[in-house]
C-alpha cells in the first residue's frame, strides 16, 4: 500500500509512506521456519527434561525447590529455543563513543550462545548503523564535551535529591527555559529518563473517567503510562485517521461504557516517528480531528525531535504547523542530543501543574549536571546560537542522507517500510534464520546493524533497522550500501516486486518530488 496524500490542502508537502505487502511465498516459508524451530524446541526441551542433554539454564536454589516456581516453563520457551540461537545479535558491547564509527569488543561463544567469553580483541571502526545518533552529537571532543567537562568538575556527577526538595539546580532552570524557546512553547520541564517521562506524567494528566486513544504501535513507555493512569484505553489502527475518527465519534456520542456518563477528557497518544515502522504520524489530520472533537493531543517526539524539520524542531515544524496546537509536546534528549533524559513542553498552566503533581518531581532524583550541560550546548548548536552554522548543516546532512539511503535501498530491490523522510529505515527480513544471518554477515563486513524480531514486531515481520546519522559521510553510506547489496544477494533478501525508475543524482532540493513508479 502506498500513500501519497495531499488531503484537501492540510499537507503542504507530499506525504509518502509505503508498507509493501509481504509476498505470499515468503509468508508461508516464514511460518514453516517457525514451525520447524518450535518442533526442535519441543524436542530439545524433552531431551533436557530427561537429562539426555545437559541443561545450561540457571536453576532454583536447593532450599527453595518446593516454592511455587518463579517462571512458567512455557513463558521461557521462546527465550530458550529461539532467542538463544541468535542471541549474539544483541547486547553487543562497545568500547568507544557511539558515533558514526564504533569499536566493539569481540566475544565468542563455545556453547551456542549460552555463555560468552571476551577474547580481549577489539574490532575497530565498525560503521555504526544502530545507535540513535541522528545529529551526530555523540562525540568525545568538541564544544559540547568541553562544556560538559567544565560543569562536571564544578558540580560533580550526581545530585542526591529530588526536584521538589533540594535537587533543583540553576542548571535545570536554564535548561528548561532553553528547551521551551527551542520548541516554541510557553514553558517546559525536564526529567532524568525518557521512559519515565511518559510513565510518570501520563498518570498525572489523566485518571479514572478519562479516555485515552492510543496508536496500535505505541512505545512500551506510553502503554505503561496509560495503564498506570487508570483511564480507559482504546486503540486505533496504526496511523489510520478513519479509525481514530470513528473512535472519537463513538466515545463522545455514547459516553462511558455502562454508565453513559460523558468522558471527562479525551487524550490522543501518538508518536512523531514510530521507531519500528519508520512511519511519521499524520499530524495535520490528527490536529484537525482533535480540534473538531475537542480532545487533547500528547505527542511523543522521541525520535523526531532534531531529526525532522528544516531546522530540527521536530515533526510539528516538518508539517509547518504551530506548536500551540499540540497540547503536550514530549520528547527525549537521548537520540538527537547525545545525552539522556526527557522533557515535556506546553502551556504554562500545564507545566506548573506538572511541577507540582508529577511523580518524577516529587520522588525521583533530578538530572545529572554534565548531562544537562550537554543538552544545553547541543540545543544552542542546533538553534545556531553558538555562532556557527554547524547545527543547521547537520540537520541538512541528515535529511540528505535519509533520502539518498532510502532511495538506493529501494532501487536495489529490498522492501523498506516507512516514510520517505524518516531517518529510521526498516528493511524486511521475515524469516527467523535470516535475522541471525544478516546480523552476523554484516558484522563480518564491519558494519553494525540492529535486527529485531518477535516480540518487538509481529511474528512474521522481522526486520533490520538502520538509524541514519548526520555523522555518516557519503563514503560510509556507499560502503554500507555495497555491503548490504552483497548480503542481500547472499541471503536472498530482495523481495520487492515493484521496480523503481532511478533518479539522476541531484543535491538535496526542497522541491524534489518522488520518482515515478512502474
Amino acid at each position: 500500500i502506498n500513500h501519497i496524500v495531499h488531503n484537501g490542502g492540510l499537507y503542504k508537502r507530499p506525504f509518502n509512506e509505503a508498507f509493501e505487502e509481504t509476498p505470499m511465498l515468503v509468508a508461508v516459508l516464514t511460518y514453516v521456519g517457525y514451525g520447524v524451530l518450535t518442533l526442535f524446541g519441543y524436542l530439545r526441551d524433552f531431551m533436557r527434561q530427561w537429562k539426555i542433554e545437559k541443561c545450561q539454564n540457571a536453576t532454583e536454589r536447593e532450599e527453595q525447590k518446593d516454592f511455587v516456581p518463579l517462571y512458567q516453563d512455557f513463558e521461557n520457551f521462546y527465550n530458550r529455543n529461539l532467542y538463544m540461537r541468535i542471541r549474539d545479535s544483541w547486547n553487543r558491547p562497545i568500547c568507544s563513543v557511539p558515533g558514526a564509527k564504533v569499536d566493539m569488543m569481540e566475544r565468542v561463544s563455545h556453547d551456542y550462545n549460552w555463555t560468552f567469553t571476551y577474547t580481549g580483541r577489539v574490532i575497530k571502526d565498525i560503521i555504526n548503523m544502530g545507535s540513535y545518533n541522528y545529529l551526530g552529537f555523540a562525540q568525545k571532543a568538541g564544544t559540547c564535551q568541553e562544556a560538559a567537562a567544565k560543569v562536571l568538575s564544578q558540580y560533580g556527577a550526581g545530585v542526591c535529591s529530588t526536584r521538589q526538595e533540594m535537587g533543583n539546580l540553576d542548571k535545570h532552570e536554564e535548561l528548561e527555559k532553553l528547551v521551551a524557546r527551542f520548541l516554541g512553547v510557553e514553558s517546559a520541564m525536564a526529567y532524568g529518563m525518557g521512559f519515565a517521562t511518559n510513565s510518570m506524567n501520563i498518570p498525572a494528566l489523566v485518571g479514572k473517567g478519562c479516555l485515552i486513544l492510543s496508536d496500535e504501535l505505541n512505545h512500551a513507555s506510553l502503554v505503561l503510562g496509560a495503564r498506570l493512569s487508570g483511564a480507559t484505553i482504546r486503540i486505533f489502527k496504526h496511523n489510520n485517521m478513519q479509525s481514530l475518527e470513528k473512535l472519537l465519534k463513538d466515545a463522545i456520542v455514547h459516553g462511558q461504557p455502562r454508565t453513559r456518563r460523558p468522558w471527562k477528557k479525551i487524550l490522543i497518544l501518538v508518536e512523531g516517528i514510530y521507531s519500528m515502522e519508520g512511519s511519521i504520524v499524520r499530524l495535520p489530520e490528527v490536529i484537525a480531528l482533535k480540534k473538531k472533537y475537542k480532545s487533547y493531543l500528547y505527542l511523543d517526539e522521541a525520535h523526531s525531535i532534531g531529526a525532522l524539520g528544516p531546522s530540527g524542531r521536530g515533526v510539528v515544524e516538518y508539517f509547518g504547523l504551530s506548536p500551540e496546537d499540540v497540547d503536550v509536546m514530549m520528547g527525549t534528549f537521548t537520540k538527537s542530543f547525545g545525552a539522556a533524559g526527557g522533557y515535556i513542553g506546553g502551556k504554562k498552566e500545564l507545566i506548573d501543574y506538572l511541577r507540582t503533581y508529577s511523580h518524577s518531581a516529587a520522588y525521583a532524583t533530578s538530572m545529572s549536571p554534565p548531562v544537562v550541560e550537554q543538552i544545553i550546548t547541543s540545543v544552542k548548536c542546533i538553534m545556531g546560537e553558538d555562532g556557527t552554522t554547524v547545527g543547521e548543516a547537520r540537520v541538512q546532512q541528515l535529511a540528505e542522507n535519509t533520502r539518498y539511503f532510502r532511495r538506493r535501498l529501494k532501487e536495489m530491490g529490498f522492501i523498506i517500510y516507512g516514510n520517505e523522510d524518516s531517518p529510521v529505515v526498516p528493511l524486511m527480513l521475515y524469516m527467523p534464520a535470516k535475522i541471525g544471518a544478516f546480523g552476523r554477515e554484516m558484522l563480518k563486513r564491519n558494519i553494525g546493524v540492529v535486527v529485531v524480531g518477535f516480540p518487538a514486531t509481529p511474528i512474521i515481520e522481522s526486520r533490520a533497522r538502520f538509524c541514519l546519522s548526520a555523522a555518516h559521510t557519503k563514503e560510509m553510506l556507499d560502503t554500507a550500501l555495497k555491503e548490504i547489496n552483497e548480503v542481500g544477494d547472499l541471503l536472498q533478501l530482495k523481495y520487492s516486486r515493484r521496480r523503481l525508475v532511478p533518479l539522476l543524482d541531484r543535491p538535496f532540493d526542497e522541491t524534489t518530488y518522488e520518482e515515478t513508479e512502474d
Binding site: W90, R92, A157, M166, G338, H359, S360
Partner: protein
Amino acid sequence: AAGVGQQWVLVEMVQAFYEAPAYHLILEGILILWIIRLLFSKTYKLQERSDLTLKEKEELIEEWQPEPLVPPVPKDHPALNYNIVSGPPTHIITVNGKECVNFASFNFLGLLNNEKVKSAAQASLKKYGVGTCGPRGFYGTFDVHLELEERLAKFMRTEEAIIYSYGFATIASAIPAYSKRGDIVFVDEAACFAIQKGLQASRSNIKLFKHNDMADLERLLKEQETEDQKNPRKARVTRRFIVVEGLYMNTGDICPLPELIKLKYKYKVRIFLEESLSFGVLGEHGRGITEHFGINIDDIDLISANMENSLASIGGFCCGRSFIIDHQRLSGQGYCFSASLPPLLAAAAIEALNIMEDNPDIFQTLRAKCERIHKALQGISGLKVVGESFSPALHLQLEESCGSRENDVKFLKRVVDYCMNSGIALTQARYLEKEEKCLPPPSIRVVVTVEQTEQELDKAASLLKEAAQSVLN
C-alpha cells in the same frame, strides 16, 4: 468385511429414518434450520444498538465540553516554588542565594564532591562522550556497564547484578517482571512510592501489612494458607512475594529481617528487598542490611537499590542469583526499552565503589554522627524525631497536629525557613498527597552525611530547637 459392515450400518440408519414418527422429524428439521440461522446471523453488539439519528449524534458532539487538560494550581502551593540551588549541591550549598550547611541532600558518604570520583568521570567523558544513544540491546552496552555490574555483584557477594539508568525505575520495573496478574504480594504500609508504582504495574493482588508488624504479616500469611487449602490447584501456580525496604525512606525504621527470613521458609514466600537507603550505610563494609544482621545473602531473592544516595551517581541496580536477575534482561521494562546509563555516571559509580571498599571506616564515622544528632534532636518542644538512631535520614514530625495537613505544612515551612535564614539547609519531605496509599504525616527531613563536622551537627540541633520555639509562640 469393513465395507459390508459400513453398508449394514447405513441400511440400519435409513430404516430408522423411515420408521421415525413425523413430529420427531419435523422437530429435528426445525432445530437444524435454527442452528444454520444462528451460525449465519451477525453478532449482536450492545454498543451499536443506538437509536440516535445522525443529527442527534452531531448535536451531542457539539454539546460535549471536556474538562480543562489540567486544573489551575494556586500560586502559593507549597510544592510549586522550588528552591534554586546555585552551584554544586555539596556540603556547603547555596540555596536561593544564601550559603548554608547541607542537611537535605542524600549525600551520605560525601562522594558528590570527591575529586577521585570526578576525575574518573572526566576520563570516561573524554573516552565515550556523554550519552549512549541506545538501549542495552542495541549497541548501548559499554564495557563500563559490564564492569560496574561485575563490581556490584562482587561487592554484594551475589552472582549477578543488573543496572538501570534511573533509580525510581529500578524497583518499579523489577517487581512487574516477576509478579503478574493473579500473584500475591505482601508489602509494608510504609513502602516508598516507587514500590507502589511497581506493584500497580504488576496487576497482582496486594496485601498491606502494618508497618514492621510481623504478627500482622503472619496473620495475613495464615489467611492465605487457609485460602490455599480450599483451592490447591490454583495455589500451586500462584507466586507469593514479600516486598520490604531495608531502611524505610518514609519512617527511618529498619525492617526485622531475621523474622522475615523465618516467615519466608515457613510459608514459602520470596523476599524482595529494597535497599536504597541502607546500601552504603548499614553493615560493617556497607553491604546493607544483610551484613548488618549477618544473614546469608542468598536467602534474599532480590536486592534492589539506587545509586543516587551513597554512591552519589545516578541510576539503580538489582543484585541476586543469576537465576533471578537474568530474567530482567528481557522482561525489565525500564531496562529493555530505555537508553542505558551514561558512561560517565557509571565510571563515577565504580570509583565511588572503590572508595567504599578502600575506606570501610567511613561507615562507622557515619553511624557515630547519626547517633550524635539523633540524641541532640531529642527534647525539641513541638517536634519529635522519627527514625532509628543509626539511620542517616531522619524525620522531624509535629508532636501535635495544628488541625489540618495544610496548616502542619505551613508550620513546618516556617521552621525550615528560619533554619535556612540562619545557615542550615533543610527541606520538608515531599509527597504526592492524592497518590500515596498510606500518606505519611508532614515532616522535615534531616540528612546526616560524613562531611558534617560535630560543630555543624550541634549547631543544627540548637537551631531547630530555637526555630520550633519561636514559631510555636
